[in-house]
Symmetry: C2
Subunit: 140 residues, 2 copies
């Protein structure tokens, strides 16, 4: 599995956030209710998104969350990378030094994994949060 519940919950919740956005920030409780996700689990997901600079929090009563940037400027890749840590299909194609495989240059399969990684990255980085919302609106 490339994407865990953390990534799926996060993406669904951000789409929810865009669709239900108004003048005020949206409390997590509402998103959790609408999406049928445990609020305390979603808290942790949103903490990651906030630290990644994708959402902004307003604390205190009548607080909640808003997107830090327009939905059209946030790619799915940014969202999922933050939540999943890494999106590489196999460890050996990561850029991190310590997990790069020693066989990298001689490994026959390495270039194939790289090719797969590029294909996945292309789709994820060419799709924005707004694209997802639009796609949904067209369906209605």
């Amino acid at each position: 599995m490339l994407i865990s519940t953390r990534g799926r919950y996060g993406l669904r919740s951000l789409v929810d956030l865009v669709i239900n956005a108004g003048d005020n920030p949206i409390p997590l409780r509402e998103i959790a209710e609408r999406q049928g996700i445990s609020e305390s689990y979603l808290e942790q997901v949103f903490a990651i998104l906030r630290k990644a600079g994708l959402i902004t929090a307003v604390r205190g009563s009548y607080g909640g969350y808003t997107l830090a940037r327009p939905a059209s400027e946030i790619t799915i890749k940014e969202i999922l990378s933050a939540l999943e840590g890494s999106l590489v299909p196999v460890d050996c194609v990561t850029n991190e030094q310590n997990s790069q495989c020693r066989r990298k240059n001689s490994c026959i399969t390495h270039s194939f994994w790289k090719e797969l990684d590029v294909k996945i990255s292309e789709l994820l980085s060419s799709t924005t949060l707004q694209d997802l919302v639009n796609k949904n609106e067209n369906r209605l």
Copy 2:
């Protein structure tokens, strides 16, 4: 991570099997040595590949493994599907009844996951084991 060591070991070992194929079946010990993989772990990997009908075993002394079909007729998707069980990026796009999500039709993100799944499938099913071997030979 989409692909675990089981999938990576399996694919690398099959490439090894093709490259080193001769008149006789190749014993697992040799592959494990060349690839630097624990032989007893690789046993389990090869058991899966055999049950999936991708390789044929010859038991007893001077035994070993051969491909069940020509490398050009075995896709990477077949290999990895067997080893990983499923290759879907998220559970909700699987065809199995019990893990299909209830929100399937209303879920905004579902069609995106499906799109990702198709992209990955396209590459994996259009590449054969022979393609990987050829790619390597061209590099030399």
